[in-house]
Subunit: 131 residues, 2 copies
DNA sequence: ATAAAAATAATAATAATTATCATTTTTATA
DNA sequence: TATAAAAATGATAATTATTATTATTTTTAT
């Protein structure tokens, strides 16, 4: 018997796949990535597990970009940059919202903020250099 | 002949519909809203025009929220708040990104930022009061 | 070793959005 | 005003991403 794991073998592989990249993949990417290793992998399993990771706080959804949901195993607070040329998604590690600012939202708008997502659009370094 | 309009009658009506609300509607809402007036309105026409407004800079996409794209005729820089209870979307008029900050992104990450979207999640005032 | 629980594969179903194309409306201009 | 060209639309089909279903397999607990 193998070493005790928290997950099923495939669930583990899916989690490791999203941990192995900073490309903020979608379900399709993960599926293609793991297909060679797990020839009987089902796309539904990838979707199911990515959703589960988000529910369990082990991943976050970067949002729906160009019609497809993208994921990130990095759950620390950070923002994202989408290149409108090559569609790449990269991280922006810059704190935008202080505690006070979020608190001021609560006061000014009467809302209770639990999370936020910041998405920048533009042209990435690589595409800028190419152009 | 009627007063000269920039648009076809239906396109005008769709634009006025999204201008008439701060609810950040999706295509379905606009369609239901206009159906009584235009009994032969087609949902495809709504989708086509909402997309066109975004391309022409007369509206923006708030993003895909719970599987549906939402729109806003207010194109001035502002952010959005999504209530995870009642799914309402409201405006947050607070400038988060100064010119210097955006410039610093260019310098630190080598990217050229052209736009940004900020989405807060949480519980809205009305739902908080109800709970 | 084995029974119960959980996860999966295969597939069907769903839902939002986009494409197609014949018809209608609008626009430009004679 | 009439009319031809261009643009927009309705109806519908197609597409695409995602979710649901269910029989089977894997994992877990004992």
């Amino acid at each position: 018997m193998a070493v005790r794991e928290n997950y099923s073998r495939k669930r583990n592989a899916i989690y490791q796949a999203i941990c192995s990249t900073k490309s903020h993949p979608n379900a399709e990417w993960v599926y293609e990535q793991l297909k060679p290793q797990f020839r009987d992998l089902s796309l539904g399993t990838v979707y199911r597990n990515l959703k589960k990771f988000c529910e369990d706080g082990k991943a976050i959804s970067v949002g729906v970009i160009n019609g497809q949901e993208h994921f990130d195993a990095d759950t620390t607070p950070h923002s994202h940059f989408v290149c409108d040329r090559c569609q790449s998604i990269s991280d922006i590690y810059k704190p935008f919202f202080s505690e006070e600012l979020l608190k001021s939202l609560n006061e000014e708008y009467g809302v209770s903020v639990t999370s936020n997502e910041v998405l920048f659009h533009g042209v990435c370094k690589e595409c800028l250099e190419r152009e």
